[in-house]
Amino acid sequence: MHKRFDTSTPPPRPTIFLVNDDRDGLRPLTTRLRSLGYRVLVAAHPDDAQEWTASEFIHADLALVDLVRKTTEEVLRAGRQLRQHAKYDGHTPLVVMAGNYGPDLEGTHVEVSPHDWVTYPGQADELYQLISRLMPAAG
């Protein structure tokens, strides 16, 4: 169940490893994820995330990456690098949040490769629905 960032002790709740360098957006996102029953581990920069995952084992059922001033491709690349760095076995879902999009894409998700998703939050509920679909039940 906890495939990525291998661990010896299972966490008490389904865990999201969140890489988010947006000072404004971090609190609303973590507040909502925690209210949904998830355990959220936060790295405030991709470099911090890499250093962290390289130095210790971290329980995570899903990696969520949201980086400001980056194209979707750059965010995807950062998420995949993280997975490589952590010697990830390749099955734990990676969800990246797109940075720029219009109302036509709001609320949609695209599986760009097996286990890798790009999400375009609209009311944001779609993001949480995707997460709950990809992870073990919370709470």
């Binding site: 609190r27 609303p28 940075g99 999009y101 109302p103 509920d125 993001l127």
Partner: protein
């Protein structure tokens, strides 16, 4: 006829004198009122449209520094005898109002002893306070507080619980990452304060938004109240009832 509060506050004779220089105007969503460093052609007096004054950085990022609506005028730089300004004024919510060519505004208001000058001075000061407050707010207050404050500033000026506003546009105005608007608006929606559906915002709990907003909302609106020696929201309500 209902109208802009600065014009409504003028003595009857002065309002009549300026009448021939004013023309009715209807502005569209995201219409450009003036562009950075380009001549400002008109001064606008909104009735139910709202504009946003936006500062842009070289990299294309932008952030709103103030809002203008029925309580003011769009074209403060003209009143300050400037032909251009580095900021952009864009229509946030479409609607109606009046406008006067910049050259006529200079000739008939700025260079004359018009009572509109005192009102414009008071408004320019209130708007300066607003821009300073926005700068402090963006640095010191949380995103949910800022979004509550911003929704109310718009709501007060639109005077309608529902308005068209895409999250993409909101992110540009607030100078924040696009998904941040979604996740924050989702929190407000979950709390029953607003609803959002594909570009349409509905204020569902005005008092709740007020409670969620930072102190900046009241500080900003109080400055605009000073122009009229009372609540400008109430005065706007009176103008609406003339419709």
């Amino acid at each position: 006829m209902p109208e802009n509060l600065l014009l409504a506050a003028l003595p009857r004779e002065e309002r009549s004198r300026l009448g021939p220089f004013l023309e009715p105007v209807e502005v569209k969503l995201q219409q450009l009122i003036f562009a950075p460093n380009e001549p400002i052609t008109h001064v606008y007096f909104p009735f139910d449209f709202v504009t946003s004054t936006v500062h842009e950085m070289r990299g294309g990022e932008s952030v709103e520094v103030g809002l203008m609506g029925v309580e003011g005028l769009v074209g403060i730089p003209v009143w300050l005898r400037q032909r251009t300004t580095p900021t952009r004024a864009i229509v946030l919510v479409p609607g109606r109002g009046l406008r006067m060519p910049a050259a006529l505004f200079l000739r008939e208001v700025v260079h004359k002893a018009s009572p509109l000058n005192d009102l414009a001075a008071a408004y320019a000061h209130a708007f300066l306070v607003m821009t300073a407050q926005v700068a402090a707010c963006n640095r010191l207050h949380s995103m949910d507080q800022r979004l509550c404050r911003w929704f109310l500033l718009v709501y007060h000026r639109v005077r309608s619980t529902e308005f068209v506003m895409t999250q993409d546009f909101m992110a540009q105005m607030l100078g924040v990452h696009r998904p941040t608007v979604s996740t924050t608006a989702s929190l407000l929606q979950q709390a029953g304060l607003i609803s959002y559906n594909r570009g349409r915002v509905t204020v569902t709990n005005h008092e709740g938004l007020k409670a969620g907003a930072c102190e900046c909302l009241q500080l900003m609106e109080a400055q605009f109240d000073k122009i009229f020696d009372g609540s400008w929201r109430e005065l706007a309500g009176r103008e609406d009832r003339k419709l």
